[in-house]
Symmetry: C2
Subunit: 348 residues, 2 copies
Amino acid sequence: MNKQISINKLLIVGSVAYDSIQTPLSKVNKTLGGSGSYFSLAASYFTRPSLVAVVGDDFKSADVKVLANRKIDISGLKKAKGKTFHWAGKYHYDLNSRDTLKTKLGVFANFKPILSPAHQQAEYVFLGNIHPSLQLDVLGQIKSAARRTKFVGLDTMNYWIESAPAELANILGKVDILIINDSEARELTKEHNIVKAAGKILKQMSSPSPNPSHQGRGNKVLIIKRGEYGLLMFSHKRSVPIYRLSKNAEKLAHYTSKNLQIFTLPGYPLEDVNDPTGAGDSFAGGFMGYLAKTDNTSWTNLKRACVAGSVMASFCVESLGVKRLLNISRTDISKRLKDFKELTDFEV
Amino acid sequence: MNKQISINKLLIVGSVAYDSIQTPLSKVNKTLGGSGSYFSLAASYFTRPSLVAVVGDDFKSADVKVLANRKIDISGLKKAKGKTFHWAGKYHYDLNSRDTLKTKLGVFANFKPILSPAHQQAEYVFLGNIHPSLQLDVLGQIKSAARRTKFVGLDTMNYWIESAPAELANILGKVDILIINDSEARELTKEHNIVKAAGKILKQMSSPSPNPSHQGRGNKVLIIKRGEYGLLMFSHKRSVPIYRLSKNAEKLAHYTSKNLQIFTLPGYPLEDVNDPTGAGDSFAGGFMGYLAKTDNTSWTNLKRACVAGSVMASFCVESLGVKRLLNISRTDISKRLKDFKELTDFEV
């Protein structure tokens, strides 16, 4: 009899860090942070995510427990000699912008994720904000091993757009969804109009890859986050067949609003925003967690996943650091899902 | 037998101007503009609005025709000796900000709107962006005459918030809806958080007036416009009775998100925005026009009116000046209404 390996459906490769955060009203020193922490904590409300990341020998066992208590699979959380990635930032009075005071990469500088056989079997994968060549490497480990992968998500940032454009272009053609913010979308395309920028990015994501087996399976999806204003999600209309799109990939005409399906979701109007750190990662975690749980990547379900992600992001910003993400009740979540529906619903 | 006076349901008091507009891609010199023009053109797709405004003796008969052709009642468009209000502005490359190059008030400087008996009977009234004491005066003419008025809307701007705060506070307590943008809401309340700012404004709007007959009838409504990000609409939950609110008007606790109903609508994601001039006035015109047409100010219908207004604003910005507002087909409008539904619809 074959022994069934217990496989977690969702894998996140990202950073686990210590954050020192100053807001106009409060501050905290070296608290658990990093994209991988926020992502996996948010995802843990929908599925059991596997976290692949590296920490230093200063990483506290209490913080390991924080992740383990949420039933996150931390078998891929590697401890290395050195210091845990440390980020320090100070928010401006309006909480919409911040200054980075310190970025000490520590052990994260030499992060080379090696996936275990179990992790290579993940069906839903999120490549957190690390060097595009590392993202490519992780994707290579997954795809050559199993080809079970159904849906790969990608994050990136201005730093990689500027410093590693070729590698970024390469990985963009191999993933199913890109989740970035509006300033990143504009920088990536040199296009201010957000619909045009989205068309250009989807075109780039849909361009034929040198190795077709490394391409995504279906229509490419782009989510553009707009902070307190919520998000826009773009994909092609299903009436435009994907094969036609890839044959005509050089024609931007296929990537105009006429051929795009677009979904918008507002930010949750919160009276008390305390700390925006990790909101984007919490969104991505809730989004991917919901997809993994429901195992459905239809447009209708992608929209629901956007709501789930936005709910998690709205909780995240209520407290300093990851605090609010540690203890959200089912009732809290379902109430806020309902709020989002009321907030946006109208009859025509 | 009584002679029935033909009464138009919707009255707008505002400015009619000549605008000189420069955008990164085009420019136009002294074209028909002003809040009253945009408002009444947008409203004309839903009802027959009456426009009360003043123009100079340089105002072209061709421009009178533009308004008359859309069946706008221009019996209140007064010609005075002097020049028509002239505004000149230049948009920055992103079309989100602009520099005002010229503001020559001309005959608008001495604008003292006197309503005809027919105009005093209007059931829906919009007080465009003029001095708050003039807005008060207009409201006095209407309310003392007929008390038929069902719903009064108000616009204002940073200039009046700074220069006429007492008069503005006075008129705020007498109208049913305030339609302003987010920076104005923040300036009015000295509050950055938009939900808290909304609570403060609704509180101010609900404070008992020295003359109760001059107060609005139902729950006060606030719309905060956010440019390309769309809008937020706020009011009290119907479960919180209005009499309790006015007794406790000093308690801000009643004006927190727990007691507010909130609706959001995104901006229509346009690929080609050519000129944002008049978008806010077109929104207000579509919004009030829809309310006047349907004669229903329930929360459900206010939401529909937001969509109608946003549809008109989205058309407005497609061309320079008022051009696109002159010739929109029924099909164009109903298609875009449907687009808004698709854009925002999801199941939970």
